[in-house]
Amino acid sequence: MSWLDKILPSRIRATKDEKGSVPEGLWHKCSSCGAVLYTAEFDKNKHVCPKCNHHERISARKRISIFLDEGEHKEMFNDLSPKDMLKFKDKQKYQDKFEQTQNKTGEKDALLVFTGNLKNIPVVVCAFEYSFFGGSMGSVVGEKFNRAVNLSIELRSPLICFSASGGARMQESLFSLFQMSKTSAALAKLSEEGIPYISVLTDPTMGGVSASLAVLGDINIAEPNALIGFAGPRVIEQTVREKLPEGFQRSEFLQEHGTIDMIVERKDQPEKIANIIKMFGFKNDEKI
């Protein structure tokens, strides 16, 4: 601690402290600016820091619940669970690792599919769970996405997908790689049916997910400052042996380079996406 730090009142010093010094539960510390917030307030703000507008990563379940209208949300295809067909083992067996992750996260794999209403329009929504193997896409993710597309066609409801993924799941090897073509082919079918697909890319969307379903939206939306790209920044740095430019592979960079249509803050997403869907001619649910 420098002499300057020593004479500062502890109240000011505290904001410079490492993560974890804030008591769990009641308070949340912004991982970007370090601002300390009431958890309840942070929660109400949809996990976005009111001070610096940092969009914190958010669980798939939470994301869907804040995105859809209140009321009935129905989870679909939740019977699907991973299979260790390659008997993959690194330091640990894949089978053991995903079972542990299932227990820890309460999710069976890295993609959730729900039906519900968005501003009274019936929609199908998918969201990636980043805490499940880095949101990586293996057979279950691919199959669930495929089924979500088929459900969209069957219900003639728009499809919305929130991606957050490190890419393909290594433990399922080529099975994972082929989920890229599987999900892309499903979207080609959806497109022929004239049903809108809105892709929302959130922090981070990389590798095999970014090079398939995440960039194939009729409209591609990104959350502010999300890391989005094919190759990871570290791999690129090692390959080109130079420092990456400021803001490289962030949402704003992507909009500048023509990958995404717009950047939309989390709080504005329901309304903006509902408006887009309505403009495409998909109306409110008449049943209500």
């Binding site: 690194d90 330091k91 057979s139 095999g208 190759a231 690129i236």
Partner: protein, 321 residues
């Protein structure tokens, strides 16, 4: 001098010595009858050694053969398997990627659209070909070529041989992700037959971007993987030197992938792998391609598209409880 040659892999070293002896006799001006008899016994010895080495290759050794410095590349096949080749350049948007070549090719009496990754042989050529790692313009050129094939109802033939799509600032700036995704999307519905052959290294999304097909084949000693064994080892084992273990775990060989029904056929390689007998490799691949073309030509286009869709959507294994 004779114990180092970059064109021999570690485990091929026993072959180097015999090859050198044979070469010495053959190039000697004064070869006697005894020398010629000697060649015969050396050849037998060579076969024996090759058989021994190749009967128990590890998956990591197969990966090394797939990247062998002498392994035939796309352009080698182009000049020996096809009677005619008219190369087309550029994506009509940005530029011409040298890591992917496209062109109209004549295979016996059949015109095909040939698309393949191209690696370089010497260091200058390697740089020129960007080590076989395409940038977005490469994938866009490939897609343009595929659309052309669709228009004139030519079968598309793709040769896969890449470490992966290029991870660079320029490639990202020009939307590598979209270039790859767009190919996957379009290839699923393109209205002409697609046949893909992994001839060397099938490196992840960069390979798949020209590999969505009605028939997917692999040369016997090629590999196809979601990540390189080294990359996987450095992430999961925190040590790139564990690549041999990762290669095994990833199931990337033709034999394993055929067992998992992820590929349709294995194209046999000559004794000692493709680089030891180019001509045998060309004729093996050619006859396999002709068989595959006949297969895809034997069904109507709507049937072909339907079975392609079914094939793509059936990839993956999972439990449902």
């Amino acid at each position: 001098m004779s114990d180092y040659n970059p064109n021999y892999l570690d485990f091929e070293k026993p072959l180097l010595e015999i090859d050198n002896k044979i070469k010495a006799i053959k190039t000697s001006a004064s070869a006697s009858q005894r020398d010629l008899d000697n060649i015969e016994s050396l050849n037998k010895d060579l076969q024996k050694n090759i058989n021994k080495i190749f009967s128990s290759l590890s998956d990591w050794q197969i990966s090394q053969i797939a990247r062998h410095p002498l392994r035939p590349y796309t352009l080698d096949y182009v000049s020996h398997m096809f009677s005619e080749f008219i190369e087309i350049h550029g994506d009509r948007m940005f530029g011409d990627d040298k890591a992917i070549i496209c062109g109209l090719a004549k295979l016996d009496n059949e015109s095909v659209m040939l698309i393949g990754h191209q690696k370089g042989r010497d260091s200058k050529d390697k740089v020129y070909r960007n080590f076989g790692m395409p940038k977005p313009e490469g994938y866009r050129k490939a897609l343009r070529a595929m659309k052309l094939a669709e228009k004139f109802n030519l079968p598309i033939l793709t040769f896969i041989d890449t470490p992966g799509a290029y991870p660079g600032i320029d490639a990202e700036s020009r939307n590598q992700s979209i270039a790859i995704a767009e190919n996957l999307y379009q290839m699923s519905k393109i209205k002409c037959p697609i046949i893909s052959v992994v001839i060397g290294e099938g490196g992840s999304g960069g390979a798949l971007a020209i590999g969505v097909a009605d028939r997917l084949a692999m040369l016997q000693y090629s590999i196809y993987s979601v990540i390189s064994p080294e990359g996987c080892a450095s992430i999961l084992w925190k040590d790139a030197a564990k690549a041999n273990i990762a290669a095994e775990a990833l199931s990337i060989t033709s034999e394993k992938l055929l067992n998992h029904k992820l590929i349709d056929r294995i194209v046999p390689e000559p004794l000692g792998a493709a680089h030891r007998d180019y001509n045998a490799m060309y004729s093996s691949l050619k006859s396999n391609i002709i068989e595959m073309i006949n297969e895809v030509r034997s069904v109507s286009l709507p049937e072909l598209l339907e079975s392609r869709a079914l094939k793509i959507s059936s990839y993956g294994q999972f439990e449902s409880q």
